[in-house]
Symmetry: C2
Subunit: 575 residues, 2 copies
């Protein structure tokens, strides 16, 4: 492709609308343009990057035996009512009525549609397993779309759905996808980590997230430096020693703690460590109040509490009015003693007694509380967030914390949708059974953004070769010079013939403009032709990843280039 005939409108200024670096650079490099909130047009360069990701995803899905289909964007409400998600999904599901007043939605996911498809076709265990996938445009009406392609409303996903006749088969399908995902992210040239994840609203029995590592990531990944343990912070298990005998403590006693609302204030007032105080949090779970207790220096993990309660909706903290109604005291003085709500405590609180807790009375706390003796606790269980310094639950080494961006998710769904939509088959004995499902998503457009979050510098994007819209920028410094142009055309033809994607910058622009654009767009390899180098019989090279410049002889260029290109790719960890 010749840049003079291309459409790559780069921008000098960073658009004010863009908060994160990938969004800024995608706009500046002329890869996307905003149509409306959270909705973007892919310009030619952006679409090439998107398709490069999609093609590697497709190849590995095919290799894993999944079969590509294409399901509709518009879905009938009936199926969502059948699965129960019509009422449950919330306002991210964009709903509308068509001209015949049929309720419909724009699909953010396709469990219902694919289960409906399969239940009408598959009758026998002999037709199982099957794994159907698509690469398709989805819509989620985010309340606050932002960060460009990172959290748009319209986005491209690969979603796959496996159907198996038994648990062993479902596990095999799951791990085949896990392996395919690992291959995909490896082939894309991305630094990533697969971590145990919460299976969340989509339901199901177990799942892993695939995270692209980036300092700007919204997710915190807890990983072990010594073993293969890795988990999303929401899921990571907080290790807790077994409870031994708890020393007896004096009778509970109420004291005045005027104006001490927070753990820090109480600890300071009483001159104790925050770890001596119990934090009592009141939540509303599916409309009903519950209390959760963690040690004063810990954070409650809401996801763990939600899963413990099997709550349908996300939990929310009780409002000040609800706190007063439940405890009889203003916010800051709730405590477990005498509280008539269901109370759940982090298991760490079972290790000791003599706690300081809120007294359910304004400006008052209680000392010498033994939770087993003085309160009614439904259960002591893992409710806290893992914190720096915590040991690995598998091997005991100290866990590390890194940031990541979720780009893939594999779920073993189990029977959730097959039961709801009655997707059955006849087993070997002729008995009707529910199919066991898995679902597997990859955010194709999100990968384009996250690869930039992971790979950029002050000059612009630093694309991994497999994702780059063109692997090579071939810069002709002297497009009006016949010799330079002939040489550039020759190199262009030779590389293109070898299947390498080359963008030839043949524009009548100053060298500085050309170099800036090539750096900004982030082609992994820059080749520069013209000026003194040409006179010396060389092509200047630049490995964009490490900004390393070099040169290759025009004489025997192709072979020398291919060898050097291998070095560049090895630097990316690519074969």
């Amino acid at each position: 492709m010749r840049l003079s005939r291309y459409y790559a409108p780069t921008l000098k200024e960073t658009p004010a609308e863009a908060e994160v670096i990938s969004h800024q650079l995608l706009l500046r490099a002329g890869m996307i343009r905003k149509l409306t909130a959270g909705i973007y047009t892919y310009l030619p360069l952006g679409l090439r990057a998107l398709n490069n990701v999609a093609n590697i995803v497709r190849e590995e899905m095919d290799r894993a035996g999944a079969l590509e289909i294409l399901m509709p964007a518009v879905q009938p409400a009936d199926l969502w009512k059948e699965s129960g998600r019509w009422d449950f999904y919330g306002r991210e599901l964009l709903r509308f009525v068509d001209r015949h007043d049929r309720e419909s939605c724009l699909g953010p996911t396709h469990e219902e549609v694919v289960t409906d498809l399969v239940r009408h076709e598959i009758r026998s265990y002999r037709q199982l397993p099957v794994n159907l996938y698509q690469i398709q445009t989805k819509f989620r009406d985010e309340i606050r779309p932002r960060f460009g392609l990172m959290r748009g409303r319209e986005f491209v996903m690969k979603d796959a759905y496996s159907f198996d006749k038994d648990d062993a088969g479902a596990d095999a399908s799951y791990w085949a996808m896990y392996e395919a995902y690992a291959r995909i992210f490896t082939r894309l040239g991305l630094k990533f980590r697969a971590v145990s994840a919460d299976s969340g609203a989509i339901g199901g029995s177990f799942s892993h997230e695939f995270m692209v590592l980036a300092d700007t990531g919204e997710d915190t990944i807890v990983a072990c430096p010594d073993c293969d343990y890795g988990a999303n912070l929401e899921k990571a298990e907080a290790v807790c020693p077994s409870a031994g005998a708890i020393p007896a403590c004096p009778p509970a006693e109420q004291i005045a703690t005027p104006g001490s609302h927070t753990v820090e204030e109480v600890a300071a007032f009483l001159k104790v460590a925050p770890a001596a105080v119990v934090k009592t949090l009141l939540y509303i779970a599916d409309g009903k109040p519950v209390a959760a207790l963690v040690r004063g220096d810990r954070e409650l993990n809401e996801i763990k509490l939600k899963n413990l309660l099997a709550a349908k909706e996300d939990l929310r903290l009780a409002t000040p009015e609800e706190v007063v109604a439940a405890t009889g005291a203003p916010v800051g003085f709730a405590g477990p003693v005498g509280l008539t709500l269901p109370i759940y405590a982090d298991r760490e609180l079972a290790l000791a007694s003599d706690w300081i807790v809120g007294a359910n009375a304004a400006d008052a706390h209680m000392l010498h509380v033994d939770l087993g003796r003085d309160a009614t606790i439904v259960s002591f269980t893992d409710l806290r967030e893992v914190a720096p310094g915590d040991p690995c639950p598998k091997c005991g080494a100290t866990l590390t914390f890194t940031k990541g961006i979720e780009v893939g998710h594999v779920f073993k769904l189990g029977l959730k949708y097959s039961e709801a939509l009655n997707a059955t088959f006849l087993d070997e004995a002729g008995k009707e059974q529910f199919m066991i499902m898995g679902c597997y998503g990859i955010g194709v457009s999100r990968i384009v953004a996250s690869c930039i979050e992971q790979n950029n510098d002050a000059s612009g994007i630093v694309f991994p070769p497999p994702i780059a819209p063109f692997e090579v920028a071939l810069i002709n410094l002297s497009p009006k010079d016949e010799i330079a142009t002939a040489k550039a055309d020759e190199i262009y033809a030779a590389l293109t013939k070898a299947g390498i994607q080359v963008l030839l910058d043949d524009r009548d622009e100053r060298p500085g403009v050309k170099f800036k654009d090539a750096d900004l767009i982030g082609f992994p390899i820059q080749l520069t032709l013209g000026g003194k180098g040409l006179a010396r019989g060389i092509v200047e090279t630049k490995d964009r990843r490490i900004s390393l410049k070099g040169e290759l002889p025009l004489d025997g260029f192709f072979e020398a280039f291919m060898t050097w290109r291998d070095t560049v790719r090895q630097g990316w960890g690519l074969e």
Copy 2:
């Protein structure tokens, strides 16, 4: 691909929902499944056919210098209001409000979005021309979706938009697309014809439709057997000799024609030919009544009248009440004499006088009417439909009528959208000018259906090789036989290596089932291995297009196959 691990659920029975052959066969061959009215899932075979079409479209668009982008499905109402189409487009535009109450729609076309994109990027004539295209899923809320992929609500289109600095450039862009379309349909192996077309609601100055020829087509194509003239019936010009001197006729005279409402009834009652009677039709155009006159043996072409009136909405016939209000008489007795509406006459009516017309009174007509003398006609112009026997407007030969399915449409749009959305550039003199636009659509999913309408027989689909989901069905009759299986695998590997798409039927099924499925799905080439043929050292072959069976030796199979394959492709008119 091995059929035993594939998902191609063929059906023995024709589903009752399917009216047309392509819909029936797409369902029966396991290529699509209905999700809801006019909305389909593409199963693996259907998606492959769809992608085969899309890839050829993409290659030829790229070759013509168009640049691929991807625009969103969801579009903001604001742009449609700016172009004026929000009020004008009607209920086929699916509209909704998002969670922030922003009015939006699902895009059935992208003139507004692409013009908005370009107006923000292009400043100078030096950046023109540009031609941007996408292959994307569109939505049109058809009132009566039917015929499967032929007229669905959700469908895949290739749409391209060119922007030029002057008329000569716009014409060059137009003809480049015209040529690209001709190459596309030729490469797809389809019998097609490009015809002059009405530019319709989308507006613009001239256009051609690309029609796949099929007896089941909804469109009538008028073509000249001797020259290159071809037109959609709605557009075809009715040739009319120049008007000479008109003989004087007696004064007009009202007579009773009791119960004679139609031209046929009046002609029979008066014992004259229908051609002696003038047919007066009352239409409502953008809310106002008009009258149109054609000779009694002719059909009015509503599109010609609509274009003459520059009406925004489609015309509709006046209701009986409206006829009474306009003429003072019931339906069947309207006539031009004394009528106070604007009256438009077909130019054929200027060739003669002494017409019989309705008298605007119940059970009465008038004789001896000279339209110039007795009525007020706004204009005499081409308003009738071309009829069998009419001469070619270019060369005079007798026109032929064939049926076709519209699969592509090229428009020279002119300034319609650039003016409405203020898409301007600075010309060589630094003066602001509107860009001149063209738009170019191809119904990618519709091509899959129309290729089946054109190519099918009693056994099923007869796919042209470029569209077929697999070019070759390799049928192993004895999948439990080691020798047959080894040979089948060997042939499969050799053909796959040569880039030929092969589906290996390795199922444990009866030969009859395998042959029936291969015929139904319509693979252009069938190769059968096993049984007596294998013992004789041959592979049985079948050219699906002409149901011609043959055999090829296993010894030297690959070379013999490639030669025979060329013959099969030549039969399809392919290179």
